[in-house]
């Protein structure tokens, strides 16, 4: 197993190196001049030239790239041209918020999607199956921004149950930072008030974000279970008089969820991208909005750091998915 994980980790290195080169050059060929953006609205051409010199933007691209590589090796992502704070600090403050949101959405989608898919397959072509098919097509087709606004209107405005926006109520102090995940940090600190408040704030955005993933996981689980149900071993177990419920949830499901779990890894990338919209609507203080601002203002150091970081997280999640695959299906480990 350890060899399996190490091999997966080694494969990540060339991917990340490629990402590093690609993002650096792609961002630098975009026509927006970071120096002009930095100088501000009323700057003269002379001011812009001075800023270009100050930030080393007048150097040849390969020199700038070499400097950048040296910085990345030291985990120094430089300073945001706008907030004037270390990019690493800004990311440290925001990334946990996005990860808490996306992981909650993913967890919700998985915990609900797998049983729903299984139930649909077991009741193939009957009403639970039809209902799930309608819901799963809807889940993928519904526009996130529309759904988010409808949820806000119902739960925050009409029923007045859940907060409209933000990550914590304005009057409430955040729990001491340990992981940056408010749910975890508040429990560790014994702050049940903060835990409850954080959970209430998380409910609507996480549910909105989970919708597409939930539909996808349910559909893949359904397909997997349907296929497994045709296998000889299932017929054999049935003939042996094995209790049907135990057969489905213990044996059939384990042999069916590999495809659904592969989807979870792929979905994670989509969720991070989708978080941009959800964070914007719910004023969630995560990395999504920060990145959009960086793009609009040509804050290239932030763009580089965030792209690289999301690449690393995406790679790690996919390694995790591979490991889970290996655990579920020992044949995969042996093939490796």
């Amino acid at each position: 197993m350890l060899r399996f994980i190490l091999r997966r980790l080694l494969l990540v290195i060339p991917s990340l190196a490629g990402l590093l080169v690609l993002t650096f050059f792609l961002i630098r060929v975009v026509p927006a001049d970071p120096a002009a953006a930095l100088a501000g609205e009323n700057a003269s051409p002379a001011q812009i030239a001075e800023i270009r010199r100050q930030y080393g933007l007048d150097q040849p691209l390969y020199v700038q790239f070499a400097v950048y590589l040296g910085q990345v090796a030291r985990l120094d992502f430089g300073e945001s041209a706008y907030s004037r704070r270390p990019v690493a600090l800004d990311i440290k403050l925001r990334l946990p918020a996005t990860l808490e949101l996306t992981l909650s959405a993913l967890l919700f989608a998985t915990l609900l999607g797998i049983p729903l898919g299984t139930i649909a397959a077991v009741h193939h072509n009957r009403w639970p199956d039809t209902l799930l098919r309608i819901l799963s097509v809807g889940g993928v087709a519904i526009a996130t921004f529309w759904f988010a606004i409808e949820l806000q209107l119902l739960f925050a405005m009409k029923l007045d149950w859940l907060p409209l926006r933000g990550r914590l109520s304005p009057g409430l102090a955040a729990p001491p930072t340990l992981t940056g995940f408010y749910l975890v940090d508040s429990l560790v600190a014994g702050r049940l008030d903060a835990f409850r408040d954080a959970l209430r704030h998380l409910a609507l955005p996480a549910f909105t974000l989970s919708l597409g993933g939930l539909a996808t996981i349910a559909r893949f689980t359904r397909a997997g279970v349907l296929e497994t149900l045709q296998k000889d071993f299932v017929t054999y177990e049935r003939a042996q008089g094995f209790p049907p419920r135990a057969l489905i949830w213990k044996f059939v499901l384990r042999n069916s969820v590999v495809a659904a779990i592969t989807q979870i890894g792929l979905l994670f990338g989509g969720l991070i991208a989708g978080a941009v919209v959800v964070e914007t609507i719910f004023d969630w203080p995560g990395i999504g909005f920060y990145t959009v601002q960086a793009i609009l203002t040509a804050d290239y150091k932030v763009m580089l750091a965030v792209t690289l970081l999301i690449g690393v997280v995406y790679a790690l999640v996919n390694i995790l998915v591979d490991v889970v695959h290996g655990l579920i299906d020992p044949r995969l480990r042996e093939q490796d």
């Binding site: 100088a39 009323n42 704070r85 209107l153 907060p163 304005p170 609507i281 920060y290 203002t297």
Partner: protein, 526 residues
């Protein structure tokens, strides 16, 4: 299994009950603003509308604009004098004004602030750099600041409120590598304004808590119900912004509220609209160096093809005033008799035909660049596209960003054929609009991106810039504006009416076009 089912059911019900309690209500004494924050909070690094909101509350200036139309009033300075040649300006400070740390504001502190602005060389220095050397800002005594300009510059006084006075003792203590404390002040406060930043809770672009400064030089006798705290929590999405206002979790929206939301707010209880005529002109720029826009008849064709009334009445629901010239119609120097161009497709067609006969390539695909995140620029482009199609012009809409467009306006070749933007009130002087937009010495800046050139206009604008008396400057700007409008270098659409949603517990809201009503010193919370 049934026991597990029951446990799961009970847990679910408990979860729903625990979560489903009424949402947050407004907190007494705390004003929550959903307006935007600047990218960082150093008033010497950034100068835009969000920074005006922040710095008008946390810093003071020598003079400050108040009211609408904005009037320049003594603030940290009691008075000023100017030499007859317009070169030497002296400002006498008011005694007893204090910074947030309790130290008294002296002339040296003002000198340091101007030197810092000039040394950093960012946006706020733009108005001063061409005429003021750092060594020519001096303290004549403890309460007098003297500026000696390199050449006469009439808008100098109008630009004085751009510079926020910072506390050098606090800033210098946080300098790193001679950076003038710029990394530190980007996330901290060092001012004397009516409110002070709580740096511990500050998050760039996301949250700034401002606490009432009891020692402010104006005192609080006139406003016993002032909020003890202002929380700026920018709302990013229009729908969320309006919902938060209706719910009462936000007291003020920003001033860019779309007009379709106005009726919704007006119909709701507990909230109202603050509507104010501003000085923010909406303009479609034409690149006068690129054919067909180097042809006067082609430019006139485009000017007659924009449906001004339709745009203002239908799309903006009347929340704007037609402004047919580059300057806001409520500013001195605006020629009151100017008619501008009307929407008339027959005239447009005739001008386009004339231009074609003169060899202008009217038939080529023409691009208009919009600012993707500002919906109004897209709406204007779409309306223009449909009208131009009727006179045989093929207009292509290109969605773009501010950073990208303003980079491209550095050169005539890379400046878009057409693009859309507003010119806000950076300082209240015709120089802010007509001066910097149409004097050819500003070519290469986004404001002068029409690449317009007229020797007589250059002469008039340059003369107005060095003439100190407003009564002598006024006819110069009026004549320059008439000539510019006759040349039709751009399409001037409207002067903005700013619309802000406000909860009814907020009283005493005051609007000034400078800062777009962001100064909270006068607000009372019921």
């Amino acid at each position: 299994m049934s026991m597990w089912k029951r446990i799961a059911g009970a847990a679910f019900a408990a979860g729903v009950l625990a979560l489903a309690v009424p949402a947050d209500a407004a907190q007494p004494g705390v004003l929550v603003s959903g307006d935007n924050l600047p990218a960082n909070v150093d008033p010497h690094q950034i100068f835009d509308v969000p920074m005006q909101l922040y710095s008008l509350n946390t810093y003071d200036n020598l003079y400050r604009y108040q009211g609408n139309p904005p009037k320049l009033e003594p603030w940290l300075a009691q008075s000023h004098t100017v030499s007859p040649d317009g070169l030497t300006w002296e400002f006498k400070l008011r005694p007893g004004a204090k910074f947030h740390d309790g130290s008294e504001i002296a002339a040296d502190d003002v000198v340091y602030s101007f030197k810092r602005v000039l040394a950093l060389g960012k946006a706020p220095s733009g108005a001063f750099k061409p005429v003021l050397k750092p060594e020519n800002v001096t303290a004549s005594d403890n309460s007098t600041v003297r500026f000696v300009l390199d050449k006469p510059y009439a808008p100098f006084l109008a630009a004085i409120p751009i510079v926020a006075v910072v506390n050098p003792r606090v800033v210098k203590a946080n300098e790193v590598n001679n950076d003038w404390g710029s990394a530190w002040l980007a996330s901290n406060g060092a001012g004397s304004g009516a409110y002070t930043l709580d740096a511990a809770t500050y998050r760039p672009l996301e949250r700034a808590d401002l606490k009432k400064f009891d020692g402010h030089f104006l005192g609080w006798g006139d406003n016993p119900k002032a909020p003890r705290q202002i929380q700026i929590l920018p709302t990013r999405e229009t729908s969320t912004r309006v919902l938060a206002l209706l719910q009462g979790s936000v007291d003020l929206t920003d001033s860019y509220l779309p007009t379709d939301q106005v009726e919704r707010i007006q119909k709701s209880k507990g909230v109202h609209i603050e509507k104010n005529t501003s000085m923010r002109v909406f303009i479609l720029r034409m690149n006068n160096k690129k054919p067909p826009f180097d042809n006067l008849n082609a430019r006139k064709c485009f000017a007659h093809a924009f449906n001004y009334d339709g745009f203002i009445k239908e799309i903006l629901k009347g929340y704007a005033e037609r402004n047919p010239a580059p300057m806001p119609n409520n500013l001195w120097g605006y020629p009151k008799d100017i008619a501008g161009y009307d929407y008339d497709l027959k005239k447009a067609k005739a001008f386009c035909d004339q231009a074609k006969a003169e060899g202008a390539p009217i038939g080529r695909a023409i691009q208009i660049h919009t600012q993707s995140q500002l919906e109004q620029t897209n709406q204007a482009a779409q309306l223009f596209q449909s009208d131009l199609a009727q006179v045989g012009v093929n207009l292509k809409i290109v969605s773009d960003t501010w950073a990208n467009i303003t980079t491209n306006t550095a050169k005539a070749e890379s400046t878009p054929d057409l693009w859309i933007h507003w010119v806000s009130t950076y300082f209240v002087d015709p120089e802010n609009w007509v001066g910097q937009m149409y004097d050819s010495q500003f070519h290469g800046t986004w404001k002068a991106s029409a690449w317009y050139q007229n020797a007589r206009v250059d002469e008039l604008l340059r003369k107005a810039r060095v003439t100190v008396s407003q009564s002598e400057r006024q006819p110069l700007y009026e004549e320059a504006t008439r000539l510019i409008v006759a040349d039709s270098p751009d399409i001037w659409v409207y002067n903005t009416v700013e619309i802000r949603g406000v909860t009814d517990r907020v009283k005493g809201f005051r609007f000034s076009p400078v800062g777009s009503g962001g100064e909270m010193r006068w607000v009372q919370l019921e």
